[in-house]
Structures are given as C-alpha cells and as structure tokens.
C-alpha cells in the first residue's frame, strides 16, 4: 500500500495557562488530546465538531505553527513535527492553509498583488516576471475576483472577498495539501459553489488533498470523502461520508446532524437537544468526555473512557454502546 500523504499519530497539544496572579502554577488547556488520522493524495478529510473542540489546533499543528506537546505529524513518509528548518521550507510549500479569520491573516499594508506574488517568489515557482504576472492574474480569475482588484489592500474588500484572497494565496504555492479552516464559510452559496467546484477540480487533476475544517455540514457532505468528528480534543467518530451522514453511530454525531437548520421556512425538524454541562478542555470529564451531555449515558461512561473501535470496514467509533466491536490501536 502506498504511503498516505499525511499521517497524524496520537497528536497532543496542551496550551499552558497561567493560574493565579504571578502565573506560577500552570494548568493546561487540553485542546487536542490524542488524535490520529491519515489523508491520502487526492482525498478530502473533513474535521467537524463543536466550537472549541480543537479543530483549528489540529490544523495549526500540521502547519507547525507551534511546537506540539507530543505525537507525530508525517508528510509523505517524513516526520515534520521535528524537522529541521531546511526540510521545513520545502514542506511549507507542500502544505498550505486558508485561515478561519481572513482579515487577521492578511498583511493590511500589502497590496493583493504582492500578497499573491510572495509565495510564488519565495518558492521560486515563476520562470520570469511575465510568468509571475500570468500566475497572479489567473489566480484572481480562479477565485472570481476582478483583476483590477490586484492593486487594492485587504481593508478595501468585503469579508468574503478577503477569504478568496486567502484561498488564492494558498493556491499560489501549488500545494499538495491545503488545510481549509472554515475557508468557505464567509461566502455566499454561489461563490462557495465556485470555490468548492474548483477545489474538487484541482483534486481530480493534481491529486490535491484537503483537510476541510467546517461547520457547514451540507458542504461537507457534498465534497468530502471521509469525516472525523471531534469532541473536546478527541476524535469520537471517523468514517466515510455515506456512513456519517446516512448512519451516524456516535451519540454526539447524531445530535450534531439533527441540529442542522433546513433552508425551508417552517420545515419540521426534531433536533436532539443536548442538555447538561458543557465541559471545558481545562478540566475534561473523566470517563467518556461526552458523558455530561449524552442522552444514553450509563454508569460505565462516567468512569471508563471508550476507545475508538472499528464498527465497519472504515468506520471507527468511541462509545461504550459499540462495545461488541474489537478495539483498534492508535
């Protein structure tokens, strides 16, 4: 079997937080607490889950925007979580990101032209000045922004237009993997459709892989191959698209899917309302992390943590109700 493009093994990121006035005693935010998955070339893996569950932290760890607490991030067979700066440079071209908050990720003093030219120059992708210009203008066409906008600065754009600049910048480096952190959430349905179609075209043509972090479950369902559902720093269910959307197994996945509002006024839904305390990643609950809100909680859930178990050929679920299945390591 070929090596997956990206492998993440038991990734942990604990942010230290200061307690008390003098910041002496330190506590941790267990933002990501043992997450493993793989992404193949040409594959889209979506990361979904509650706000604050650690999705962006996973994305940022892969980009090595900070040092991880433990675990491994392996790109194309090579570890990048501890790679030397020289190796890292090449890796940086191969993995790009579209950030969740476009405004703070774009330099306000730079014109769009320079924002897009920077990665092309940095990674020596353009053969000549003309080639650079051709690349920059065609990126604008790709994300449906007018070419004349190249001379403008980020604050002159709308939120969605800025997001498209971020997408164009990511594409400029001709990456093999893009971490899309809420990359299309700020876009209207038509522009969103254009970008999603484009990403899918790039995927078919060049084998582009995507880690697609999103709260927009309809888009996820449309474009993803597999889905990892996170809850409080852990993956609770990992399965192909069809299984997740047609037959979700984990109680949290079920609740999440039932709450999607439908674009039909007056439509009847029966959302599963989660009651109980919303736990914090500073003091994650003992046992199953979802037990404070799970409608099916029973005694064992409060003390024993469920492990991810295979419940189907490619489906993994972490819940004691899936008991019968054999546990998988990792």
């Amino acid at each position: 079997m070929s090596v997956p493009l990206l492998q993440v093994n038991d990734l942990k990121k604990h942010f230290p937080i200061n307690k008390g006035l003098f910041g002496r005693q330190t506590e941790f935010v267990y933002a990501v607490d043992g997450v493993s998955f793989e992404i193949a070339r040409g594959e889209t893996l979506s990361l979904v889950g509650e706000s604050g569950c650690g999705k962006s932290t996973v994305g940022r760890a892969i980009l090595r925007l900070f040092e991880i607490t433990s675990g491994q991030v392996i790109l194309d067979g090579q570890r990048i979580d501890d790679a030397a700066p020289g190796t890292m440079r090449q890796m940086r071209r191969r993995v790009q990101v579209v950030f969740q908050d476009p405004f703070s990720s774009l330099n306000p003093r730079m014109r769009v032209r320079d924002i897009l030219a920077e990665p092309i120059r940095n990674f020596g992708l353009a053969k000549s000045a003309e080639d650079l210009e051709v690349r920059v203008t065609s990126l604008m066409d790709t994300v449906r922004l007018p070419r004349e906008a190249l001379n403008r600065r980020p604050h002159e754009f709308s939120g969605g237009q800025r997001q498209r600049i971020g997408i164009a910048r990511a594409l400029a480096a001709e990456p093999e993997l893009i971490v899309c952190d809420e990359a299309v959430s700020a876009l209207d349905v038509s522009v969103k459709a254009q970008i999603v179609n484009l990403l899918q075209d790039l995927q078919r043509e060049f084998g582009l892989a995507l880690l697609f972090i999103s709260h927009d479950l309809a888009i996820v369902e449309h474009m993803t191959h597999r889905v990892a559902v996170m809850y409080l720093g852990k993956i609770v269910e990992l399965a192909p698209r069809r299984e997740i959307f047609a037959a979700p197994r984990h109680p949290y996945t079920k609740a999440l899917l039932s709450a999607v509002p439908l674009p039909e006024p007056g439509a009847q839904r029966n959302p599963i309302i989660l009651k109980g305390d919303v736990p914090s990643p500073i003091n994650p609950p003992k046992g199953c992390r979802f037990h404070t809100r799970c409608p099916f909680v029973f005694d064992r859930c409060r003390t024993e943590e469920p492990t991810l178990r295979a419940t189907g050929p490619e489906q993994w679920v972490a819940c004691h109700l899936e008991e019968a299945a054999p546990a998988v390591s990792g």
Partner: protein, 329 residues
C-alpha cells in the same frame, strides 16, 4: 411601527480607480420586534449597509448619504457624541470578523465589563458578575476562567460568542448581526439564535440579520431583503420568498443551496453556480445590474434599469420580466 427607516442610502468610497458605489440607493425599514434578513452575493454591500447604520464607515474615503431614521431621529444628523451614546446602547452590532472588533490586548472579561460600565452604569463588581453570566449564556464553558483570557487564546467560535455577549449585554433595541454564526457549530448556533429571539421577546428588539446561511434565514427571519451590486433587488416575507422568488438572481441563489442529504441520494454532482461576475461598481451602470449574468436579459434590460415593483403580496422585485401575482407553489 417602523423602528428603523432607511431611505435612499448611498455609501460610496473614493478609491484610486474611481468612486466605488458600494451601496447605491437602498431603502428599507425594520419594525419593532421584527427580524429582517439581508442576503446577497459576497461584496454586494451588506456589511457596508450595516456599518453605515452604525456610522462606522471611515469618512474619508467613505461618504454616507440618504437618511437613516431610528426611533424618529435621523442618525446621519447626530453629532459624534450623540451617536456614541446610541451605539452599543440602543443599537449594537455583531461584526463579521471577530478579531477586527475585539481588542487583542484586553482580556475578554474586561471588554464585556467596560461595555456594561459605560452603557449600563454598573460598577466594576456588578459588571464582572454580569460578564460571567453573559459568557455562560453564549455557551462558553468555565466562564470564570475565560474572562481572564485574551482573544487569541480562544477558538474562532468562542471569539464570535464573546462578541455576541458584548452586543447583547445592554439589551439593545436594534441588534445588527453580521454573519453571527458562521464560526459556530449547529448546536451552539441554535443556542445563539435562541438568545437573539429571547432578546426580541424580552425587550421587543428588532434584528437585522446578515447571513449566507439560508437555513438560518428560513429559521428565524420574518422578512428578507435581497441585495445585488449595492442595490436592493427583491424583498418579501420569508415563506413567500422561498416559495416564489421573482428576481432571477434570487432564483439562482436559492437554486444553489446545497441541502443536507441531497448528495447522498444520487451520485455527487457539481454544486450549482451562478455564472459570471458582479459588475464593476466604479463604472456607471446603465440598465439592470444583473443583466451581465442573467439568462433572461434582453436589450430592454441592458438599456433601462428596472425599478422595484410590487410582484405579489408584500413582495417587491426589480426585474422587467419577473412574474406578477400569486404563483402556484
């Protein structure tokens, strides 16, 4: 009764390439206790419209003209001081990008507290307690600890919720929410929408909701205004708009919404796009603003701009060819 009446709002920006007519003659109203949704393509002027209502457009390069009557007073005629008193108190806003409106060097608790101390006259202790309560309401766990954190220590959705807490803290009469739930998962989104509706019920607040999420529109809006290229092109009660959109842009927009479950049914198809690009707003547009992308466009459309006309019950649209009268569902 109309709480807010906007007439012929024009917000233009001076740019090196000419005047950008970001909002070009938009009129609408919002009644007390009503939720109006504004939808439209990225860049069509939704945020600029809402920033104009708050008078937060930098002038220059921007310039606002027209009239914005709020509870009988024209906001464009108020002094900066009078406007400051209204902002955050009578009208508050949830901004599209949280990081641009939260102060990165102040803890989130302090930001909520200061709003409460300035506008509600609470003392520090009371404000602190209320800040914690607000964070609890927006579903942030361990609020007592979170008040001491800085915006960069929070997740994207938590920042958005802090901003929502700030906006709701003073029980505004008008809440302008610009993409309030894009960074939130659907369960927390439901919780936030409920908070907004509670505000409406409790103090009779009106809400202007700007969003690309037509599921959210269907869920909480009463009326919808559709914008395109700086103009209003259609407006109708929510059920009527979803049932029989009249403007070709609105029809394209509703047709492009991916529905949960739809791609599982058959083989995955491409998402529907509306082909073409919006016109350059720095050049004068003769004729219909949508003509360049409209499948129905004729010479008439390219020559004469259609006016907003009544097309159905409380339903107006700006299109020469939009069907009139009731349409069978």
């Amino acid at each position: 009764m109309a709480l807010l009446e906007v007439e012929n709002l024009q917000t233009h920006f001076r740019t090196p390439g000419g005047i950008n007519r970001a909002v070009d003659g938009v009129s609408f109203h919002v009644n007390e206790g009503e939720t109006l949704a504004i939808v439209g393509e990225s860049g069509c002027g939704k945020s600029v419209t809402s920033m104009s209502l708050m008078r937060l457009i930098p002038e220059p390069p921007g310039r606002i003209a027209g009239s914005i009557r709020f509870a009988g007073r024209d906001l464009l005629k108020l002094s900066d001081r009078e406007m400051r008193a209204i902002r955050g108190n009578d009208i508050s806003m949830i901004f599209q990008e949280p990081m641009t409106s939260l102060n990165p060097v102040l803890t989130v608790g302090r930001q909520i507290r200061e709003t409460l101390m300035i506008h509600q006259g609470l003392d520090k202790q009371a404000a602190e307690a209320h800040a914690v309560e607000m964070l609890t309401l927006v579903g942030i766990p361990e609020p007592k600890r979170r008040v001491g954190e800085y915006p960069h220590q929070l997740s994207g959705g938590m920042r958005q919720r802090v901003m929502i807490a700030v906006a709701l803290a003073c029980n505004p009469k008008l809440l302008i929410a610009d993409e309030p739930t894009t960074a939130l998962d659907v369960t927390i989104q439901a919780q936030i929408l409920k908070l907004m509706l509670d505000l409406k019920r409790r103090v009779g607040a009106a809400i202007i909701l700007i969003t690309h999420d037509l599921g959210v529109v269907a869920e909480i809006a009463e009326r919808v205004m559709v914008m395109y290229a700086g103009r209003k092109v259609e407006e109708a009660p929510v059920a009527e708009l979803f049932r029989s959109p009249r403007h070709p842009y609105t029809q394209g927009l509703l047709g492009a919404v991916p529905k949960l479950g739809s791609s599982l049914a058959g083989t995955a198809t491409r998402l529907a796009e509306i082909p073409g690009q919006v016109p350059d707003l720095r050049k004068p547009i003769t004729g219909c603003v949508f003509a360049g992308r409209c499948a129905l466009a004729t010479d008439l459309c390219r020559q004469y701009a259609p006016g907003l006309e009544e097309k159905g019950p409380r339903h107006i649209a700006a299109c020469h060819y939009a069907a009139k009268g009731a349409i069978a569902a």
